[in-house]
């Protein structure tokens, strides 16, 4: 009994730093944001101490709603494209010979270690009116005048898929890698076509990875404001841009209100994910 109590104390001691840190920098910080969303901005600089719900009333403004909807649309689209490209990639990768597989894994991981901003900047050069891509297409005679590539919504979309696709590939790879393929073979032996076996056996069994990938792609996609800055000519606006614009114009309470909304959307997505049987562990480990 005494030993048990000691154990408990010891494990509490181990947890304590993490709990304190989390309470301070996650719980209190988010509470602070929620509190801030009920204040209003000062005239030039700062915040007044009047308590108000007007920020939330302003959320209903069609202007803001439109941005949130556009942002959601782009995120959903990004997630879909990431599934279409990332899932097969992760699947095929797991089916490769170990030697080839480890090379591809390496090729996939290395960009992770290089700055994501500079990679986006690389796209910027690539997509410019007189950039390499246009020059290449012109020289091939595929196009006769330079295409408008940079500073378009398409460029933002491309950048987003580009930045987030590894987060779809890696969880898929992990689950497919763990999959027992004798089940699939059994289905094949029983006469299922390869496609049918794939969709009725493989996909459901690797759902965990697919779902983790969706969450890992969908959630950050709403906040990546720098993509629209660097590739969209600061034009197309995501939820993240809206918050950033509000922060820049020093309307912190309104920015907080939008953050709370975004937090709620995110919470909803995670709750759905949990309900469907996903665990947090899958998300942090791919």
């Amino acid at each position: 009994m005494k030993a048990n109590q000691q154990d408990r104390r010891f494990s509490l001691l181990l947890k304590l730093p993490m709990y304190l840190w989390t309470i301070m920098f996650v719980f209190v910080a988010l509470l602070y944001i929620i509190g801030l969303s009920f204040l209003s901005r000062g005239e030039r600089i700062g915040i007044t101490n009047e308590v108000t719900v007007s920020n939330y009333a302003r959320l209903a403004d069609p202007q803001y709603l439109q941005v949130m909807l556009n942002s959601l649309k782009l995120s959903v689209l990004t997630t879909l494209i990431c599934i279409v490209i990332g899932y097969p990639f992760g699947y095929l990768m797991a089916r490769l010979k170990p030697t080839v597989r480890s090379i591809i894994m390496l090729l996939l991981i290395v960009p992770f270690w290089t700055n994501s901003l500079i990679r986006i900047y690389g796209w910027r050069i690539l997509l410019m009116g007189n950039g390499p891509l246009n020059t290449f297409l012109l020289n091939l005679g595929i196009i006769s005048s330079p295409l408008k590539l940079l500073n378009t919504d398409g460029a933002v979309f491309l950048g987003m898929v580009y930045a987030l696709i590894p987060f779809m590939i890696l969880p898929t790879f992990t689950t497919v890698d763990k999959l027992d393929f004798s089940v699939v073979e059994a289905a094949r032996d029983l006469g299922a076509s390869p496609l049918r076996a794939f969709f009725t056996i493989t996909v459901p069994l690797t759902m965990a990875g697919l779902m983790a990938g969706c969450v890992l792609v969908f959630i950050p996609s709403m906040g990546l404001f720098f993509l629209s800055d660097l590739l969209g000519g600061s034009k197309s606006v995501l939820a993240g841009n809206l918050i950033q614009n509000l922060i820049k114009s020093r309307d912190l309470p309104m920015a907080s209100a939008l953050s709370v909304l975004l937090l709620a959307v995110t919470g909803g997505v995670i709750a759905l994910y949990r309900k469907a049987g996903g665990s947090a562990g899958e998300l942090g480990l791919f």
Partner: protein, 345 residues
């Protein structure tokens, strides 16, 4: 045991700030746009005086105001920013008066660029450069002659303008195209300006300084509404672009240094300012940035290219009709809201 752990944690937490506060006396912290003073100048200054320059990059005036309002300016010594924001900093009591007895080069400054609204008694600000916002266009690609702001709304320019990205200037020129001042505060007139401004969006190809510049050079955009600095660069990189002084009146601004009230390196900051006012240094940086020189004594060091650059040498009769963006006080929030609505289309 628990107590010990908590103690260790507290120690860790309290030791952390020390990481960032290891300050020596001989340092000056400057907050401004990345690269806004030539690196060679900074290095030469450090070599001459032994004072290290720490440059905190800011992305925009708004970001600077946010940072300063949040921190009270602590950690920064000098801020290099534009006219109306200088006024906001002064009115909010975030900057302090300069000690002119510490300067040897103060007399070099050109009085034309002094005694401005943000500092009528010349107590706070050391002007660095001045610059206009200009329209540039490629006559080959634009089917008509551009003479003023009004032309930017022309339907032929759909998706072909690269523009700077500052609420006060964009709304300011909208007001000017309607015959009002750039510093209008009447909510009704501002509401009209909003109506006028909104459709401009579909003509805009890119927002932002380098974004617009890149769009112009690469041929994506045929019209630019840009700072003189970028118009100067175009003179060499894309000479087909023609500079227009808008007939409604040119908007100009002055960028200057101010000393934060919270500065802990007042002497170093003064030494830096004095160095910046040195005629040769001032001439070099005005040319390097492609902006108008504000230092009288520096004029003899300016090159021929400078004197023949229409983006920096503005004729006197054009300057007569110029207007400077000023702080509009409470109306600022109207400007912000209009611009947000504009960008969100």
């Amino acid at each position: 045991m628990k107590k010990i752990m908590a103690l260790i944690l507290c120690l860790c937490l309290s030791a952390l700030p020390l990481l960032g506060l290891a300050e020596e006396e001989k340092v000056v912290n400057i907050l401004s746009w990345e690269g806004y003073v030539d690196e060679d100048t900074l290095n030469a200054f450090t070599e001459e005086t032994g004072i290290k320059v720490v440059w905190s990059p800011m992305e925009s005036i708004d970001e600077m105001l946010l940072k300063i309002s949040q921190s009270g300016g602590e950690g920064y010594d000098l801020i290099l920013t534009s006219d109306y924001s200088l006024d906001i900093l002064r009115q909010e009591g975030l900057i302090q008066k300069l000690d002119k007895s510490k300067f040897t080069n103060y007399g070099n400054l050109n009085p034309t660029y002094m005694s401005q609204f943000y500092d009528p008694e010349n107590e706070y600000v050391i002007p660095y450069v001045s610059g206009c916002t200009l329209i540039v266009y490629d006559p080959e690609k634009v089917p008509f002659e551009i003479t003023g702001y009004e032309d930017l709304w022309n339907e032929a320019l759909q998706d072909s303008i690269g523009t700077l990205d500052l609420d006060r200037v964009i709304i300011g020129v909208t007001l000017k195209s309607m015959g009002y001042s750039m510093n209008e505060t009447d909510p009704e007139i501002l509401a009209q300006a909003k109506e006028k401004l909104m459709p401009l969006y579909k003509n805009i190809r890119a927002f932002g300084d380098t974004e617009s510049y890149a769009a112009l050079v690469s041929g994506e955009a045929s019209v630019g509404f840009i700072y003189a600095s970028f118009a100067s660069l175009l003179q060499t990189d894309a000479p087909q672009f023609q500079v227009v002084y808008p007939k409604e009146g040119i908007g100009f601004g002055i960028d200057g240094f101010v000393l934060t009230a919270a500065s802990k390196h007042v002497d170093s900051a003064h030494a830096f300012l004095d160095y910046i006012m040195n005629p040769e240094v001032a001439a070099h940086n005005a040319e390097y940035q492609g902006y108008t020189n504000v230092n009288k004594a520096a004029e003899e060091y300016l090159s021929d290219a400078y004197w023949s650059n229409p983006a920096v040498c503005i004729p006197d009769d054009v300057m007569k009709g110029s207007e400077i963006v000023q702080d509009v006080g409470e109306a600022q929030s109207i400007y912000t809201d209009i611009y947000t609505a504009f960008k969100l289309q």
